[in-house]
Symmetry: C2
Subunit: 201 residues, 2 copies
């Protein structure tokens, strides 16, 4: 081919650096200069790999959700440990643990959704698709739980999946403003109550 890359995969390295930095500032406030100096990549390279900052943003979101599905999607998949109910609870427990462990970390959906939806249509779509996939995974897991008898069949799976995901998105958002686990713990208590059999069919 040609000249060797600075890194095994420079494009990937820029995206990873962006994902790290974005937790601390908004997408608009994340300057290319800062991003590239942090990544140790010259500016000329950026526009070799991305046609614009927006294009970079889309790629970062796509990459993030793809990685998220790999890391966390397995937890929810049928055939993994436990029944449907246990898998859902494990998923949300991990969500809580992530925040308890490291303060800065938060999911990109929470961090960027509000800003990016108004800023860039392509980025909005990338976000939407990524989030929708999670909701669908949750809905599937709810159905599996209803089949295996661990989740009461009266819950509408799709609406409940939306509600659960919304609940945890909002709790993560409040965690950011409050710097306290209380919203997330309340979400966990509520989730446990919802997924517990309630005698009502």
């Amino acid at each position: 081919m040609a000249r060797p890359s600075l890194y095994p995969d420079t494009r990937e390295h820029i995206l990873a650096t962006g994902e790290e930095l974005i937790h601390g500032r908004s997408f608009t406030a994340l300057g290319l200069t800062e991003l590239l100096s942090e990544a140790g990549v010259p500016k000329g390279s950026f526009y070799h790999y991305f046609k614009s900052k927006e294009d970079f943003g889309v790629a970062m979101l796509t990459r993030y959700f793809s990685g998220y599905r790999e890391r966390v999607g397995g937890l929810l998949t049928d055939g993994s440990v436990g029944n449907g109910r246990e898998r859902l609870l494990a998923y949300f427990q991990q969500w809580l643990d992530n925040h308890a462990r490291c303060e800065a970390q938060s999911c990109l959906a929470v961090k960027l959704a509000a800003e990016v939806s108004d800023l860039s249509e392509p980025m909005r779509v990338a976000l939407d698709e990524g989030m929708l996939a999670i909701v669908q995974r949750l809905a599937a897991c709810l159905r599996e739980g209803q089949t295996d008898g661990s989740i009461k069949p009266s819950l509408p799976p799709d609406d409940t999946a939306y509600a659960l995901y919304s609940l945890w998105l909002g709790a993560a958002l409040m965690y950011k403003t409050q710097h306290s686990l209380q919203p997330l713990q309340a979400a966990m208590i509520h989730t446990q109550g919802l997924l517990l059999p309630c005698s009502a069919a």
Copy 2:
């Protein structure tokens, strides 16, 4: 005194304009030049009324939440129409209706929480206080509902208030990415299910 103001209250006028504009862009992306030209206020005046953009941001948030409490807090207050359960449902129904009516409108908490929490500590605090006040109002309303018998007493009021508010925050966030009422409608269905008596004490 001295020279008369351009508007009866120029500072207030700038804040109101900011609140309008912020729905369409992030706080970082909202430039002072744009804000002031939209408001019809000369640029030089800005630092007469605010000591910095951050100071303006804090004032905008404080003003917003103060107005929000006036407009919407009454709906939740004891002594208003209906029992506790009906008042809560009316509050969230209005939340849904607001989104159904006008696409652009969304609450400032949803729009700014993620961005501002990392950007500015004073703005984060303003946001936190405003949101906390709403959660406390919800919790009070839950307690009132438990007293008047319209809400089942097994629900922990504080955690449930957090969960309800998180749920609707998250649903509003997803509304922004999805451009669809589905998340909000799912939140409403879930809320109705939660506030319905369930025989389980």
